[in-house]
């Protein structure tokens, strides 16, 4: 599997002590150039630079065909009852749609998009952790470790679902 990552995913995931397990799930994680430009902290930058050097991550350019599709997705999202997409995550979804990647984003609008107006799959850190647990690569309490280390909080219904499916 390959993925394309939005900044909202990366800035949290980079703080996770097991962040490199991401590459046990995805052969390559693509980083749009605009996303790279949004990253500022040393921790996240150094991690991305290391992973670019190793080939686990790769830069994805801004291409007109995906840019146009991303704008279309933004338009579609503004018509619905849920939150609208912004361009950077819409771009990730446009690429994911076409190339069969998983789009990685913590943005609620991106998560909703996969059920409403795109065939792309969108994973949050929650889905990545779920996949890691199903492969036996993280323990049952990984979701709580993730919350603590990244200061990212999962919705209560997702925590309950995690608990209901203990390994």
């Amino acid at each position: 599997m390959e993925a394309i990552a939005d900044t909202s995913f990366l800035v949290d995931w980079a703080r996770f002590s097991h962040r490199d397990l991401l590459f046990r799930v995805f052969r390559v994680v693509w980083i749009p150039e605009d996303v790279l430009n949004e990253v500022q902290s040393e921790r996240t930058l150094m991690w991305i630079a290391d992973r670019l050097a190793s080939g686990d991550m790769s830069l994805f350019p801004l291409l007109p065909e995906y840019r146009d599709r991303a704008l279309r997705l933004v338009e579609l999202s503004r018509r619905g009852p849920t939150r609208g997409l912004d361009f950077p995550e819409a771009y990730c979804i446009a690429v994911a749609e076409d190339r069969g990647y998983i789009a990685l984003s913590e943005n609620g609008a991106a998560y909703a998009a996969q059920f409403l107006y795109t065939t792309a799959r969108v994973w949050r850190a929650y889905e990545v952790l779920w996949e890691l647990r199903s492969r036996g690569l993280v323990p049952d309490d990984a979701i709580f470790t993730y919350q603590e280390e990244t200061k990212h909080k999962f919705p209560q219904r997702d925590i309950q679902r995690w608990r209901d499916c203990r390994s």
Binding site: E33, L36, N37, Q40, S41, E42, L45, M46, I48, A49, D50, L52, A53, L59
Partner: protein, 72 residues
């Protein structure tokens, strides 16, 4: 042939690491530092420039100031 190319890459990387002015590199802001470290490891000027947020020519000047050789 592949082994030969890998050896050349390894030698180039070691040369870049050895020649680099690490005092200068470590004095720089995170984005530039990350880009130079990436360049030392890979020799990839284009992506390093993207990490730095610079044009290729600007990054190349930074590379030179940091004492990192361009190894063919």
């Amino acid at each position: 042939m592949e082994e030969h190319l890998k050896d050349r890459e390894r030698e180039a990387r070691e040369l870049r690491r050895r020649e680099a002015d690490w005092n200068y590199i470590n004095s720089l802001p995170p984005r530039l530092r990350a880009a130079l470290v990436f360049y030392i490891e890979t020799g990839d000027l284009y992506v390093a420039a993207k990490i730095a947020g610079l044009r290729v020519e600007e990054f190349n000047e930074l590379r030179i100031r940091a004492g990192i050789p361009h190894v063919n």
